[in-house]
Symmetry: C2
Subunit: 320 residues, 2 copies
């Protein structure tokens, strides 16, 4: 496996310039008061499609579109955010997208795919169906996280945040399949080979594909099917590419349980005035539960991965 490097990140940043939102790195006075060090939020819920995913999927599709064999259509599998990102990028490139999603996908994510003209196939066999569609329709099967161009695209989150805050003490990144943290960590190491900034991933206890892959040393699926309130992090497995990036560049991957995620959900929204999905708050849950120690000084950056939350979920946590 070849790791994403500074050149790949620069190419991705140039490709995506003007096509994705350069999201703000927002200070939170409330969270700064709570933890006693500056807390900053990389607000990818404010990204087009409401999640960081559009960076990686768009970068990969632009790369393929510029190749000798540009795709005539695209398919992927996803809890929803990668699906919406794929539909968004496909619309921009003028090609069709058919995406595979689990039957219980969050309605906001289903609507997002439809908004951008994507076709949805609901299936429990996400990977098999995706490959079948690719074969039958001669579409590009784009992996939602385990692809170097996808990782490089997600890495522009890290490129931007390191430009806006030169020396964070700690960056906390939600982990599903690991594309986001692979890209962010690559971007941090590219500008900071001395590793003064810690990059730590956070997974749900019950959707811990990366922790499992790290423990056994290979990207095999965990024995039980991942499920979590953080639906966007319930990837069925990590990939060889993302595992290698995490092994090389990430300081730690920790887990938080669904109760801690739910507790952090409303309070992050209330404190930061950002509408977010549960996957986006695992970093705050990790600080609150103490599974990641608060650094003695220097800013903490929380990567807020997305905002495509179930309306019923928001109603429920707001009513608590």
């Amino acid at each position: 496996v070849e790791l994403v490097d500074a050149d790949a990140l620069a190419i991705a940043a140039a490709r995506l310039d003007g096509k994705v939102v350069r999201t703000p790195l927002l200070p939170s006075d409330r969270l700064t008061d709570e933890f006693g060090v500056p807390v900053l939020l990389k607000a990818e819920n404010l990204q087009h499609t409401g999640a960081f995913k559009v960076r990686g999927m768009f970068n990969a599709m632009l790369a393929r579109a510029a190749s000798d064999h540009p795709p005539s259509g695209v398919t992927t599998f996803s809890a929803g955010n990668a699906a919406a990102a794929t539909a968004y990028a496909a619309r921009a490139l003028g090609i069709p997208a058919t995406v595979c999603m689990p039957p219980g996908a969050v309605e906001a994510k289903v609507q997002a795919v439809k908004r951008y003209g994507g076709e949805i196939v609901f299936t429990d066999d996400l990977v098999g169906t995706c490959h079948r569609i690719a074969d039958e329709q001669n579409f590009l099967a784009l992996h939602p996280f385990d692809d170097p161009d996808v990782i490089a695209g997600q890495g522009t989150v890290g490129v931007e945040l390191m430009a806006d805050c030169a020396a964070p003490a700690l960056i906390l990144v939600p982990v599903g399949g690991g594309g986001l943290i692979s890209g962010v960590a690559a971007a941090v190491r590219a500008v900071q080979p001395g590793r003064t900034t810690k990059v730590v991933g956070v997974e749900p206890t019950t959707a811990n594909a990366m922790t499992h892959a790290l423990a056994i040393g290979e990207a095999a699926a965990p024995p039980t099917k991942p499920v979590s309130i953080a639906d966007g992090l319930a990837a069925p497995f990590a990939g060889p590419n993302t595992l290698a990036h995490v092994q090389a560049n990430v300081d730690d991957v920790v887990t938080v349980d669904d109760l801690a995620i739910r507790d952090a959900w409303w309070s992050l929204m209330e404190a930061t005035k950002l509408l977010v999905e549960p996957s986006a708050v695992v970093g705050l849950a990790a600080l609150r539960t103490g599974v990641v120690p608060v650094p003695a000084s220097g800013p903490i950056v929380l990567v807020i991965s997305g905002g495509n939350a179930a309306r019923t979920g928001i109603a429920s946590v707001a009513a608590d």
Copy 2:
């Protein structure tokens, strides 16, 4: 009445540099698709204290603190956001704040004042109580909107957005007592004397102090007590300063009813991934109801005034 000019705005911007958040001007692809022209959001819900108010109150208190008679304490009256802003600025300056709020104030706003160490007096006689406190305790009575330094501070919202988007076709601004729109319109006219950008204010139908003042030509209270789901806009009256600024610099002030505000509330949050209070969505309600025509081209800027929403209100609109 002397109008806030470019010099006053520049002084306010310099005073507030580093003390307030330079909030992002965010593109919304969803609202852009809906209206067919670019829609941008000036996200003051992401401001310290969760609302634009800290700009004006902080600027005025910094101006008084630098005078020959710096205040030993400060009081104001407010539905909550100006109160929290006053408490925040007073804490920064090391002086006490006692604020007057209506008995039914939104709990999030009450908590915000307490978080920053402010004392609250709940009263229906907001102005009288404020003046009594000022007399008894020898505190500065700071008007929450009808003060040139407050207007200049709020004007930094306009200074920033005109720096980030040179030629909006239309800027929609929520109107309570009129401090925000007075400052924003002054900033627009300072850089654009040719008035190519329209600045339009939006009030609740049932809390229309500025519309009333414009109609009778003086800053007298409307005959009925203002009340609205947009609690932050229920100012009891406009002021001579804000009326004069609106007469001089604002193109129109329109009204939207509470049903239209409530309809716009969840959908703005869902589309933009910002947690906002009802006062912040009146601009979107004005476009949706057609009371403000969508310009043929050029960006629309919605000033998102704040995010201190009642938790029960969010639960209610999310559950609809």
